[in-house]
């Protein structure tokens, strides 16, 4: 595909789409100024938006085909370079590169993105900000593509922050309601904390390598091991970059914004908080695998944080009442899995889980969206039940997604999750603990997934009938569901475990990208699993998934008694879990409130009173002394004479003795 300018069109098409939809939105506003409910050209917006995404999808497929054609070791397509910041010896440019890793991400972003665009054409129909929504969605896809395709860290950062901005705009889409705006602001601030650490990481890389071009950095990492001081800086740099990932991919310290992000429209949650944006962190670690693999402690840190996040996410999803909150915590948990995979050096497995997760989590979110759409914006599972009769198509696709998520055998989720657990187990040593956490989380995942399915689609109908008439979603919405369902079921084919004696498609495809990282890891000892052990792990995984799925389904198929009983006799535990281990409350108590206090103190006490006081004080001092001196002039001759006399004596003395 020539490569020079054509590649630029992949991200630029959505950008033009966004601009077009923006204009359409302002046109509708102008039209609406005349008569209130004028439609204006907003109907045009979805068509423009979907066309733009379709365009970049086709271009991506073409790029993918051209990439596949190239020989294995030379699979890179470069684009023309946009000179951005040139200062002295520092050259920061933006150029796009398609290599196996970014090709996969390209397919996910544009593919799932396109499906979600089609879905939201139906879901958002009738919303006053219809065109604005598509403008933001296209802008998001543009930023995500910039992130995925850029060949330098600075270009990646442009996409990184652009994505954060779009999630802020989209979460706060229904700002009239008030709390979505707060959720959007919270998301942006959390991202900004991550970006700050990302910035420091980029400074360290410039300090070490003098450039931000990813391929140059990956190549130069090997040379660092000689100089211990540089090695220390590289480790710190890697951890800072990982700090950025935790912000973006909602890992332990910075994950509490994701559940609140559910305030945005459901397609947003599907696209941004399931399929694309949150995976940016995983993509970054895989893209710069030599930098992270250089120091084993960095991988251990990543693995531990991943495992802990998985545990916290999973357990918090158990007693959630809001269907989207369940899925949000589940996303946090699955992202934890991916980082666990990265931690144990299984870069290909993490990407594999990323891809399958995009499919089934996107599907579940869209399914939940169609349920909510049908139930007139009702999100509380305790007010649903028995919807399988009203929404058969949504029910079937939702079932497929839930099966894949809970890791039922032969489905995509099963293969990708167990591959990660297998690699963690193979790593041995401390990783056994992480593996244990992984297994427990797998069980919990199965439990809460099937609790959700049971509460929503089975049992008696807990909504009052004359207000709510659940109905099946229009074709525009369930067709994407069907496509995603197919992908979730058969997605496993991308990475069948070695024990099946069939090539692991994804691992082979990503070989050139992950090779340098694997080589560095091999230096610290390779880990192999005997076939018998692999079978055992597969069996264990299947057993746990099936067992807990059945257990979850059985307890909740009758209704919500189990929830109420737990709420009654163990309220502390229920509250603790629903509140995601009270981490968010801690943040508010330990960080937000004190910072408000500090702000108040600096503004009023330090600034107003101390510094300003000094300034005004100087003025006050002048007037005070002036008043006191005024009293001397009291009009009586005698005192004047005295002062003259005293002055004369003083001067004489002074003259005498000085």
């Amino acid at each position: 595909m020539g490569g020079t300018w054509l590649l630029w069109f992949v991200p630029l098409l959505p950008l033009f789409g966004a601009a077009a939809c923006g204009l359409i939105h302002f046109a509708t506003l102008a039209a609406r100024k005349h008569d209130a409910n004028a439609k204006g050209p907003s109907g045009l917006a979805p068509v423009v938006a979907c066309a733009a995404i379709l365009g970049s999808l086709l271009l991506s497929i073409a790029a993918f085909k051209q990439l596949a054609g190239l020989p294995a070791d030379a699979r890179v397509i470069e684009s023309a370079v946009w000179p951005w910041i040139h200062v002295g010896s520092l050259q920061l440019d933006i150029s796009l590169v398609v290599d196996p890793l970014s090709a996969v991400m390209l397919m996910v972003v544009t593919g799932v993105g396109f499906l979600i665009h089609v879905y939201s054409a139906g879901y958002m129909k009738g919303d006053p900000g219809y065109a604005k929504f598509f403008a933001y969605l296209n802008l998001f896809v543009f930023s995500m593509l910039m992130l995925v395709l850029s060949s330098s860290l600075i270009g990646l950062f442009v996409g990184w922050e652009g994505v954060g901005l779009c999630s802020y705009l989209l979460i706060g889409f229904w700002y009239e309601k008030g709390w979505p705006a707060e959720a959007g602001q919270k998301a942006f601030v959390f991202n900004r904390v991550g970006d700050a650490s990302f910035l420091i990481g980029s400074f360290i890389l410039i300090k070490l390598f003098g450039t931000l071009d990813l391929s140059d950095i990956n190549a130069a990492v090997a040379g660092v091991s000689a100089d211990p001081e540089k090695a220390w800086w590289l480790t710190v740099g890697a951890l800072c970059l990982f700090g950025g990932c935790t912000g973006k991919s909602a890992q332990i310290p910075l994950f509490t914004w994701l559940p609140d992000a559910m305030a945005g429209p459901t397609p947003v949650s599907a696209l941004i908080h399931a399929a694309t944006m949150v995976t940016a962190g995983v993509y970054l670690v895989v893209r710069m695998n030599p930098v992270f693999a250089f120091d084993p402690t960095v991988l251990t840190v990543i693995g531990t944080i991943g495992a802990l996040t998985a545990l916290v996410g999973g357990t918090s999803a158990i007693f959630q009442r809001d269907i989207k909150k369940v899925l949000a915590y589940s996303t946090v948990s699955q992202l934890g899995y991916m980082f666990l995979g990265l931690g144990s050096g299984a870069f290909a497995a993490a990407i594999f889980h990323l891809v399958t997760h995009a499919f089934f989590k996107g599907l579940l979110f869209l399914g939940a969206g169609s349920v909510i759409h049908g139930m007139h914006d009702e999100q509380d599972m305790h007010k649903m039940g028995g919807l399988r009769r009203h929404m058969p198509k949504t029910f079937v696709t939702f079932l497929a997604g839930a099966a894949a998520l809970s890791g039922l055998p032969l489905l995509s989720g099963f293969f990708s999750k167990d591959e990660i657990l297998a690699h963690t187990f193979a790593h041995g040593g401390f990783y056994f603990v992480l593996w244990g956490i992984g297994i427990v989380t797998a069980a919990v995942t199965a439990y809460y997934t099937w609790r959700m399915v049971a509460l929503t689609f089975f049992g008696k109908e807990r909504f009052d009938h004359h207000h709510v008439h659940p109905h099946e979603s229009p074709a525009l919405m369930w067709v994407p569901l069907a496509v995603l369902a197919v992908l979730s079921v058969f997605g496993g084919a991308l990475g069948l475990p070695p024990v099946f004696h069939v090539v692991h498609v994804l691992e082979h495809w990503l070989e050139p990208v992950t090779a340098p990282g694997k080589a560095l890891l091999a230096a610290h000892g390779t880990h192999e699993l005997s076939h018998a052990m692999e079978w055992a792990l597969l069996g264990l995984g299947a057993a746990i998934a099936l067992g807990f799925a059945h257990f979850g389904f059985r307890t909740y198929v009758k209704g919500v008694e189990r929830d109420e009983s737990v709420q009654r006799n163990r309220p502390a535990l229920a509250d603790f879990l629903v509140g995601a281990w009270k981490i968010d409350a801690q943040y508010y108590a330990k960080i937000v409130y004190p910072s408000k206090l500090v702000a108040f103190v600096t503004a009023v006490i330090v600034d107003q009173f101390a510094i300003d006081g000094l300034v005004n004080g100087a003025g006050g001092l002048a007037t005070a002394t002036g008043n006191r001196l005024k009293l001397l002039v009291d009009g009586s001759l005698k005192s004047y004479a005295l002062w003259i006399g005293a002055g004369a004596v003083l001067l004489a003395l002074l003259w005498m003795f000085v």
Partner: protein, 106 residues
């Protein structure tokens, strides 16, 4: 007379001190004026002492003398104006008490 100059200056200092004493203590403005005359005389004496000191039999240094002439002149003017003020003051306030004049309070 070959009195050393210091003695002349002692006398001048004494007179000056007395003048200041009167100037500060007395409440009657006329007395105050007189004390000022006294002080001026003391100054005159100092001038003459200096002039005498620096004169030689051949060349008489008369700067001091000329100065004292001018001092006398100034004293005269000052006394005239002072007394005129007193008259105006007396007509206004029927008193020559120094303390009664305090309208110019700050």
């Amino acid at each position: 007379m070959n009195v050393p100059s210091e003695h002349l200056l002692f006398l001048a200092a004494g007179l000056f001190a007395i003048g200041v004493l009167g100037f500060l203590i007395r409440r009657n403005v006329i007395i105050v004026l007189m004390c000022i005359e006294l002080m001026l005389n003391a100054a005159n004496l100092t001038f003459l002492a200096a002039s005498r000191q620096h004169s030689t039999p051949q060349v008489a240094n008369l700067d001091g003398a000329v100065f004292s002439i001018f001092v006398i002149l100034v004293a005269a003017c000052e006394a005239a104006v002072g007394l005129a003020l007193i008259i105006a003051l007396f007509r206004l306030k029927q008193t020559v008490e120094a303390d009664s004049l305090s309208e110019m309070k700050g």
